[in-house]
Every structure is written in structure tokens, then in C-alpha cells.
């Protein structure tokens, strides 16, 4: 039995401890905001926060989540939208949108640790998150807008 918190709620997991967190969130809990993109931690579509750190849930096994606090896009902000989500809307970042949840989770964790990021720091922080539609320049702009909003 693995005990963990997901978006503030206590959960216990009885299944296979090697199951990646992503599939527990999506198939067991029905939290489908976190996306499957590559399964090997190369695209970032599955990014969630584990104890506040941006984490690729597709390569994080359930065994490793025991006692941890997991936050998904569904729990990122209790009231309304997070500043990063608002910035994403303001800059009109998404095209297909599939990767954007992972991008937003990555950006939110990054901005928690970095208040005034440079372009280089943004690119570095976001380089693990792929966007095939090519919204990269808007992602950079939205992170800057969110950083200002959060300052």
C-alpha cells in the first residue's frame, strides 16, 4: 500500500508499485490533464509537481511517490487560474494545446524558484518540454509575462 497526496487529497494505491505515476493519475484517478507524449521523459507532456518539483510523471514510478505530495494541473490553483495559466491565455500560447499542460506545470515550478528569469534561463528550464505546433516563442513571452505578474 502506497500512501500519497494528490492535489491535497489523501490517496492510497494498492497496485503494481512499478506503475508510472502518469498512468495512475490518468487511468486510475481519471485526472487526464497530464498527458502521455513519449513515455521516456523526453517530451515533458506528463509534467506534474512532486513536492513542488517539476517531475516527468511517465518515468516516476508509484513506489517513488510514497509519502509525497503530487500536484497536477487540476490542482495547480484552487481558485480560478494560476498566474502562469493567465499569462498563457494573455499571450494566446496554445495551438493544439496537448503539450501546454506540461509546459505550464514546468513553467510554474520554474517561476517558483526564479523570479526574474533571463531568456537563456527560460530556454534552459523549458528545453525538456516539446511543442510540435511550435509555440516556443509565445511560451517564452508568456513566462516573462507571468514573472512580471508574480513579482
Amino acid at each position: 500500500m502506497i500512501q500519497l497526496k494528490v492535489n491535497g487529497a489523501e490517496q492510497s494505491f494498492n497496485g503494481e508499485p512499478e506503475m508510472p505515476l502518469l498512468w495512475y493519475l490518468r487511468d486510475v484517478l481519471g485526472l487526464t490533464g497530464s498527458k502521455f507524449g513519449c513515455g521516456v521523459g523526453l517530451c515533458g507532456a506528463c509534467t506534474v509537481h512532486v513536492n513542488g518539483q517539476a517531475t516527468r510523471s511517465c518515468v516516476t514510478v508509484m513506489r517513488a511517490t510514497a509519502g509525497k505530495e503530487v500536484t497536477t494541473i487540476e490542482g495547480l490553483e484552487k481558485n480560478g487560474l494560476h498566474a502562469v495559466q493567465k499569462a498563457w491565455m494573455q499571450i494566446n500560447v496554445p495551438q493544439c494545446g496537448y503539450c501546454q499542460v506540461g509546459q505550464i506545470m514546468q513553467a510554474a515550478a520554474f517561476l517558483d524558484s526564479k523570479k526574474k528569469p533571463t531568456d537563456h534561463e527560460i530556454d534552459d528550464a523549458m528545453s525538456g518540454n516539446l511543442c510540435r505546433c511550435g509555440t516556443d516563442q509565445r511560451i517564452r513571452a508568456a513566462i516573462k509575462a507571468a514573472a512580471e505578474e508574480m513579482a
Binding site: 487511468d27 490533464g33 487560474l81 491565455m89 496554445p94 516563442q137
Partner: protein, 753 residues
């Protein structure tokens, strides 16, 4: 333990709150189905009080339902087409609700490809809105006893200004519904000056859902009682299972059963590839079980296919005379005279789509009927193939269209939807087939590998006195008939037969190539390799002549004229040549404009930096692009700036259009930097983003500036036309920066990255 509780049958599990405005799937939105109405495909618009069009309905509370019948994969067409309806209706966008159509021929063509959603449906959407507006005005005029001509509309309200009367659309809906639907000749479309939304645009209707994880993609579709499937497919196209052992697979916790899938018959088309499916309680168990399958394959005839050797064969073919598909003058006679000649070979490998959402579909076969939930660009084709595979009438196949996590052409081929349907029939349960990224890359319908041979005889100022171009590529129709080896007019038109240069001697040829993998449409399709060859060859000739590439390009485009395609089979992307003539003046204009916007020849570029230019028309849109690059001593290419100018006629949604061209630059960057699928003994070598990398934020252009030409010409495509000129301009910029000429993509072959 689970947060899912008490979800009723036929409802979607969402795992969260359904966002207002989010794409909501399924049929649970219809609380008031008319008794006796057996249509399985009704929409809220169908059941609205005023319903003069399949695309539109208005309720007494003033809610306007607009049906989006094209698929949404990121181009915003799900928003932009309804916006056209709303404009002609003079509706308040805030009171519009969009619902997604299922696959149904009553909507017309729904194959969301070829960058033609706006072009093909702009008039139909205007008519739908104008029809409802006409009826609302009539209803108000009757009510007030005034001539309809004295009435007008003003944002969701009909007004009679001289008597200061007004009535909301909701109030008028019932009365309007009693009136006859007017003939379209009676309709008066709004004047451009009164447009509220057309030309101004709107952000995606789904924007908030997209940033909050509430948007439902195919990957997120869930129904009660469903199981998950992962399929081990034949590694070589046309291969078959000889035998398999599933003992260990069945031991994996959560695995329920394995199910063989028959190989396709004849040409692959959209049939499942065959193989063995592992059915499980969750996706991961299905993946794990599949790893334990032991399958012995009969690989079939395509086992002899090796992409390296195939490349040589294509090149060899291109060095001998091929089929002539367009001819002007006598290029052969000019070459025979001798003199200065310039030749070059260009090559683009197979390319995979790699949408961020891997291919996925959910299907339920029950009581002789199939219900599908799929991220498909082509729900009617999904109905067709599922109908054939299951042996049931097409009307008994309901295809719900989810949002697509990218499509780029892959998801217009519904083989994966058929897979899910076949498995549901065999297991008696709803089945979701989840493709891994590896499956998505290994079992794609690839953009064709292509070899292009270019030859020019050079005269005064380095201008060509004769031009010969031969392209050789396995054609897309080979998926429907394996013996098809020549390009079809629909793909030869893509930047090949329509070379826009003013040449007295031109010979355009196409050679045969047999396909050994499934070939399909990928964003911009044949335009990618054709524009690469022509626009880079042009740049080579400019440099050979010691001339400025912009100047040389304009010289070849020549004076404004309409291209005469007499004797050429030129389908013009399915549009009439009258409405969409090929006007070189428009190509010239975007080229001149991009030069100005980018500061061509005016900005200084230091060591290791360079600029390149290219111009191309595709999907009826004229585009010119200037790319600026920096290449360091390690051969790392960075793109600080891109300027692109497009003339797509009337642009309904400029914001979405800018986004498409920004994205096209990133897509093109992936093509140039790393796009390459290869095969050994018939099996694809690449598998995931480590060996099929796509551009990351560190590699994508830092800034793409998109400039839209103001035009009243009819609307043309915007999703695809940005890629081809970008690819060529980037390669030309790399030459400018490094002196290395890119003839073989990707640039890793030149030691660049």
C-alpha cells in the same frame, strides 16, 4: 481510492469538472431529444428553436449553437469558421456555444487537411449566419408591422431605429422559426465595413480549457467499462504473424487477454496493420504485457527495403529521362548546344508526423453498431473503414471527434480507429487503443522520401536559358494501389509543375518509385521537397552568377503575369483557376515585402551569420521568408530571426494565422535540423524523440515576425504554406553563414546540428 463515482452509462468520465466552453464529448448534452427522433447524430443546433441550417441553432434564451464540423488540431478552425457564422448573424460571440459535429455527410466534406477549411466553407458559414439573421429580421418586422428593409441588427438584437424598437434574437427565435427558410439569393451579406469578427479574429473558443487541462483529446476519452489495448504490429509493412506465445504476457498484472488482428488485404489504405493486441485494465499493463509477447513474423516482400540503397536508386532514376509533366520550349536542344551548365541533386528523407498526442482511439461495438471517439481529421473516412472492417452499414458507425493533440496529416488516416473498432468487436467491450510514441513513429504514413535532379543552362547575368527538373518519390496513391509509382497531379502540382519562373525553355519531369512503407500527407506534403530543391537551386545559381539572391529570385519570377497551365494537369488544390489564378505578381509582392521587412541587404551580419530567402506558393497562398542564422564553430545552428510575408487573400483570423506561420517555422526547423526516418530490412530504425528529434525551444527560431498582406482576394490556406519557403530559406541562410550547401536533408549530414 478512486475519485470516479457514479458515472452513468453513456457519459464520459472526465476526472474533473467539465469546463464551460470545453470540448465536451458524447451525447449527454441533449436533454430534450424529440420523441420518435431516431437520428443518432442530432446536435443542440438541431434541437434549437430556430434551426435554419445544419450548422446553426438559436434558442429562446438567446444562446446561439454553432456546429464545428471540421476537426480542431491547433489551427483554430473550430473557432474561426463559427466566427464567420457569428459575424453574418451579427451575434454576440459571448453568447455563442460551439459544439463539435460527429462524422456525417450532411456537413459536406469533413476531411480537415489541405489547408482548406476556411476556403471551402467561408461562403457556407456566411450563408448560415445570414439566413438566420434574415429570418430574425423578418420576424421582428412582422411583429412590429414595419417593412423588413427598415430593420437592422445590432449585436444579437433586431432594431427598428425610427421607432426606437428592438428585440433580442432569443425573443424572436420562435416567431422566426415559423417563417420559411429564405433562398440564398434573397440573402444580403454584410458589407466588409460592418464585419465584427472577420478580419479581426478571436482566440480559440477552447483557450481556457486548453490551459487548465480540461480539454478532452482522444487520449483522454473514457467510457465506463472500457479496457486498454496496446498492439504489437508487424515490423515490416505487409508482414504477418506466423505464430505467437502470450503465456508471459498474460501473467502481467492487469492483462486480461490477447487478441490477434488480421493483416491488411491488398493495399494498406486505412486498414489496420495487423499484429497482436494485449488487452488490459490500464494503459501501462497493456504496454507491459505487450513487451512479454513472443511473436514470430513473416516479414514479406518489403524485407528487402533498405533506405540507404533506396536513396541511390531514386537518384539514379532521376539521372535519366523520366515522364514529362510540363514542358515549355525545348530545354533539351539548349543543353545539346553545350555552354555553361549547372547541375545539382537534392534529397529529402522520409519524415514522420510526431504529433504530441500519439495516435489513439476509443471504440465500442455493441448491438451491431459502433461508436467511436477519436482524434481524427477525417471522421467520415473513419466511418467508412470501420463499416468495412466490421461489416456493418456506415450509418451504424457514429464517430465522435475529440480535440486532436496535433495532426499534421497523420490523423486523416483512420487505421488506428479501425484497430480500436476491430478490438471492441472481438472483446465485447469498449476498447481504447493507445499507440506508444515508438508505435507512432514506426507505423506512420510518412512524408515521401524524394530525390530531385536540377539542371540549368546559363546565359547572360547567370540567367537560365534552359531549366530541367526531375523529381522521384514514392507517391501517396501507393497506399491505395501498391503498383502506383508515378506522382499524381495532386502532388506534382505542389511546387513542381507550377514552378513560377519566367523561362523560355522548361522541362519538368517525374520518375517512378515503388513504396515500401506507407506514404501519406504531412503538413505541406510534396511542397517541402519541391520548394527545397527549386528555391535552393535558385540560390545556388545566384551565387554562381555572383548576384544577390533576392535580386536573382525576383529576376526569375519576372514580371507580374498569370501562369498559363495549358497542357498541364494542374488541379490548383481543387480550386477554380478563375477564383484562384496563379499570379506571379503576388509572389513577387511578398518577396519584395519580406526583403523590406527583414532589412535585406541593409543589416550587417558578422562572421558565422547569414541570411537566406525563399518564395513559394502552396495551398493557394503566396509566401516569402527570410531566415537569419548563426552557426558557431561547433556547427550548431541557431535562428535568431525569421520574417515571413504571406498573401492568403482574405484572412479571417489574423491572430491564428500568425500562430500558424510561427509554428510552421518551428516545424520547418525540425525538417532541416533532424527530420529523417530510415529503414533497415524493411523495418523503421527510429523510435522516439532521442532518434527522431524535433525542435526544442533552444533550437526553434527565437523570433518569427509574421506579416500579413491586406487582400480582398478569396481566402486561401494558412496551416501549411509557411513550411516550404522556410525550409529553403533556412538552408540558403546556412550557406550564407558557412559556405556549406545543403542538398541532403537533414543538416546533420554536413556535420551541423
Amino acid at each position: 481510492m478512486s475519485t470516479i463515482a457514479n458515472v452513468s452509462r453513456r457519459r464520459f468520465l472526465t476526472g474533473g469538472v467539465i469546463a464551460a466552453g470545453a470540448l465536451v464529448l458524447g451525447v449527454h448534452y441533449y436533454p430534450k431529444l424529440l420523441s420518435g427522433d431516431k437520428l443518432p447524430h442530432d446536435t443542440n443546433a438541431d434541437h434549437a428553436t430556430l434551426h435554419p441550417s445544419v450548422y446553426l441553432g438559436i434558442n429562446p434564451d438567446g444562446t446561439v449553437w454553432i456546429v464545428a464540423h471540421r476537426s480542431e488540431m491547433g489551427t483554430t478552425s473550430r473557432t474561426t469558421l463559427p466566427l464567420v457564422v457569428a459575424d453574418e448573424l451579427d451575434a454576440d460571440w459571448k453568447r455563442v456555444r460551439i459544439e463539435q459535429a460527429i462524422g456525417d455527410k450532411r456537413y459536406g466534406d469533413q476531411n480537415t487537411d489541405g489547408s482548406h477549411s476556411i476556403r471551402s466553407y467561408y461562403d457556407a458559414m456566411r450563408e448560415a449566419g445570414a439566413t438566420a439573421r434574415f429570418m430574425l429580421i423578418q420576424a421582428a418586422a412582422h411583429e412590429w408591422g414595419v417593412p423588413a428593409a427598415e430593420c437592422d441588427t445590432d449585436l444579437h438584437v433586431v432594431v427598428h431605429r425610427s421607432t426606437n424598437r428592438s428585440a433580442g434574437y432569443g425573443e424572436l427565435a420562435s416567431a422566426a422559426a415559423k417563417l420559411p427558410v429564405p433562398d440564398k439569393r434573397e440573402l444580403k451579406l454584410k458589407q466588409k465595413s460592418t464585419w465584427r469578427y472577420i478580419g479581426k479574429g478571436e482566440v480559440s473558443y477552447d483557450l481556457e480549457a486548453l490551459v487548465s487541462g480540461k480539454a478532452i483529446y482522444g487520449m483522454d476519452a473514457r467510457v465506463e467499462g472500457m479496457v486498454y489495448a496496446s498492439v504489437e504490429r508487424p515490423p515490416v509493412l505487409g508482414g504477418k504473424v506466423k505464430s505467437y506465445d502470450d503465456k508471459d504476457a498474460l501473467k502481467v498484472a492487469g492483462v486480461r487477454q490477447t487478441v490477434p488482428i488480421d493483416p491488411f488485404q491488398g493495399a494498406p489504405a486505412f486498414q489496420p496493420l495487423g499484429g497482436v493486441a494485449v488487452i488490459a485494465d490500464n494503459t501501462w499493463a497493456a504496454f507491459e504485457g505487450r513487451k512479454k509477447l513472443k511473436i514470430s513474423w513473416d516479414n514479406g516482400a518489403n524485407e528487402t527495403y533498405n533506405s540507404d540503397q533506396y536513396k541511390n536508386e531514386l537518384r539514379e532514376t532521376s539521372h535519366s529521362p523520366c515522364k514529362v509533366v510540363r514542358n515549355i520550349g525545348d530545354a533539351g536542344a539548349v543543353f545539346a548546344k553545350g555552354g555553361k551548365v549547372y547541375e545539382a541533386d537534392y534529397y529529402v528523407p522520409l519524415l514522420a508526423h510526431a504529433s504530441m498526442e500519439p495516435v489513439v482511439a476509443l471504440a465500442e461495438f455493441k448491438d451491431g453498431k459502433a461508436t467511436l471517439w477519436a482524434p481524427t481529421q477525417n471522421p467520415q473516412a473513419a466511418q467508412d473503414i470501420v463499416s468495412k472492417e466490421l461489416g456493418i452499414p456506415k450509418e451504424d458507425v457514429i464517430c465522435h471527434v475529440t480535440l486532436l493533440g496535433g495532426g499534421f496529416g497523420r490523423k486523416s488516416k483512420p487505421d488506428y480507429v479501425a484497430e480500436a473498432a476491430v478490438l471492441s468487436k472481438k472483446t465485447g467491450r469498449p476498447v481504447k487503443v493507445v499507440w506508444t510514441r515508438e508505435d507512432d513513429i514506426k507505423f506512420d504514413y510518412y512524408n515521401a522520401v524524394a530525390s530531385m535532379y536540377m539542371k540549368a543552362a546559363l546565359g547572360a547575368h547567370g540567367k537560365p536559358t534552359a531549366w530541367l527538373q526531375r523529381s522521384v518519390f514514392p507517391p501517396i496513391p501507393s497506399i491505395f494501389d501498391v503498383n502506383t509509382v508515378y506522382g499524381d497531379p495532386g502532388h506534382l502540382q505542389q511546387g513542381w509543375t507550377d514552378i513560377p519562373y519566367d523561362l523560355s525553355n522548361l522541362r519538368v519531369e517525374n520518375g517512378p518509385a515503388k513504396a515500401h512503407v506507407r506514404i501519406g500527407w504531412l503538413r505541406s506534403v510534396a511542397n517541402i521537397y519541391h520548394a527545397f530543391a527549386i528555391q535552393c537551386f535558385t540560390d545556388e545559381l545566384a551565387h554562381a552568377a555572383g548576384r544577390d539572391p533576392l535580386d536573382y529570385l525576383l529576376d526569375l519570377i519576372g514580371n507580374p503575369r498569370t501562369i498559363d497551365f495549358k497542357g498541364v494537369e494542374y488541379p490548383n488544390y481543387g480550386a477554380s483557376m478563375d477564383a484562384y489564378p496563379w499570379e506571379t505578381g503576388r509572389l513577387r509582392h511578398v518577396t519584395e515585402m519580406v526583403a523590406e521587412k527583414s532589412g535585406w541587404g541593409k543589416r550587417k551580419h558578422g562572421k558565422g551569420t547569414g541570411v537566406g530567402i525563399a518564395a513559394h506558393r502552396s495551398f493557394l497562398t503566396y509566401v516569402a521568408t527570410v531566415v537569419e542564422v548563426e552557426v558557431n564553430d561547433q556547427g550548431e545552428v541557431r535562428i535568431p530571426r525569421v520574417d515571413t510575408v504571406l498573401d492568403a487573400g482574405l484572412v479571417v483570423n489574423p491572430e491564428a494565422t500568425r500562430a500558424q506561420f510561427e509554428g510552421a517555422a518551428v516545424f520547418g526547423t525540425s525538417v532541416v535540423r533532424s527530420g529523417e526516418i530510415t529503414a533497415t530490412k524493411g523495418a523503421i530504425n527510429q523510435s522516439n524523440f532521442q532518434d527522431y528529434p524535433v525542435a526544442r525551444i533552444t533550437e526553434a527560431p527565437y523570433q518569427t515576425n509574421v506579416h500579413i498582406v491586406e487582400s480582398d482576394a478569396p481566402p486561401a490556406g494558412v496551416g501549411e504554406p509557411g513550411v516550404p519557403p522556410f525550409v529553403a530559406a533556412l538552408c540558403n541562410a546556412i550557406f550564407d553563414a558557412t559556405g556549406k550547401r545543403v542538398r541532403d536533408l537533414p543538416i546533420t549530414k554536413l556535420g551541423l546540428s
